[in-house]
């Protein structure tokens, strides 16, 4: 067992445990905090895979902005705990059985059919983070220029949509 593999196993243990914590905790605030831990762990995976820019974007956008938005909404609504009301008693066992089947199937198909051959980057071949940033910037503004611009329009639409949805209409009753 190399150090790399030990690190991977340790981190994946944290990632899976925090995902289960998100799934199982009754309080929505705890769920959000477990999800932040999961996102930070995935960011460390990105660093291990030689993607420092994506790792930083993950921490700032996901763990920072998106989860703060979630926590704001949870605390604003005060709806952190729901009463236990099981409408369909057979739904939970069926969902878990189907999910296990999905996991096995997806793993099997991805591992046997749809994967690139080879191992991931060795830690000896260090990625210079400025090189990574430069390469990504170059391809974002040349090959992927159109998707980049479309993304800016998408963000604008989302911003306008969120404002229109939450603002009070003029003349509406109080």
């Amino acid at each position: 067992m190399t150090l790399d593999l030990i690190l991977f196993l340790f981190l994946s243990l944290i990632a899976i445990a925090s995902a289960f914590g998100m799934l199982l905790s009754r309080n929505a605030v705890y769920s959000a905090l477990f999800l932040v831990l999961n996102f930070v762990t995935v960011a460390v995976f990105y660093l291990l895979l030689g993607a420092p820019f994506i790792a930083m974007a993950q921490v700032t956008v996901y763990a920072g902005a998106i989860m703060v938005l979630f926590l704001f909404v949870i605390m604003l609504l005060g709806a952190d705990e729901l009463p236990k009301a099981q409408v369909l008693p057979w739904q939970k066992p069926l969902a878990i059985a189907l999910a296990v089947i999905l996991a096995v199937e997806a793993t099997f198909l991805l591992v046997t059919k749809a994967r690139p051959a080879g191992d991931v980057l060795q830690p000896e071949t260090v990625i210079n983070s400025m090189d990574n940033l430069r390469e990504m910037g170059m391809s974002l503004f040349s090959t992927y220029l159109l998707p980049f611009e479309v993304t800016s329009i998408l963000l604008l639409v989302a911003m306008v949509g969120a404002i229109v949805l939450t603002k009070k209409e003029k003349g509406a009753q109080k």
């Binding site: 998106i66 990504m136 974002l140």
Partner: protein, 100 residues
């Protein structure tokens, strides 16, 4: 040196936990968080592939996915706040106004 298969298996497990969250939880916010977890699992697989193929395209896709997720969360949380204002609950079982 970690085989790519390990990353794929981890990604599949995280994705499945997200699917299970969407299926068994009733709280709309937790369902939303599970969707974020699924997006993250797919991102992890894409970055692993880009690392093996020594190509930046996977990382660029992940960049776009993060941008789309941010937009989706902004609109989705605004919708949840609106639903809470009218129904006083974010239990998805309560959202059955369209049912005849």
């Amino acid at each position: 040196m970690v085989p790519i298969n390990y990353y794929i298996i981890l990604s599949a497990i995280l994705f499945t936990i997200g699917v299970t969250g969407v299926l068994i939880r009733r709280n709309a916010l937790i369902i939303f968080m599970s969707i974020e977890l699924m997006l993250n699992a797919a991102n992890l697989a894409m970055v692993a592939f880009s690392s093996v193929l020594k190509s930046f395209s996977g990382q660029i896709f992940v960049f776009f996915v993060i941008a789309v997720a941010a937009a989706e969360v902004a609109v989705g949380l605004a919708l949840i706040v609106e639903i809470f204002k009218s129904k006083r609950s974010i239990d998805v079982d309560q959202m059955s106004s369209l049912k005849g």
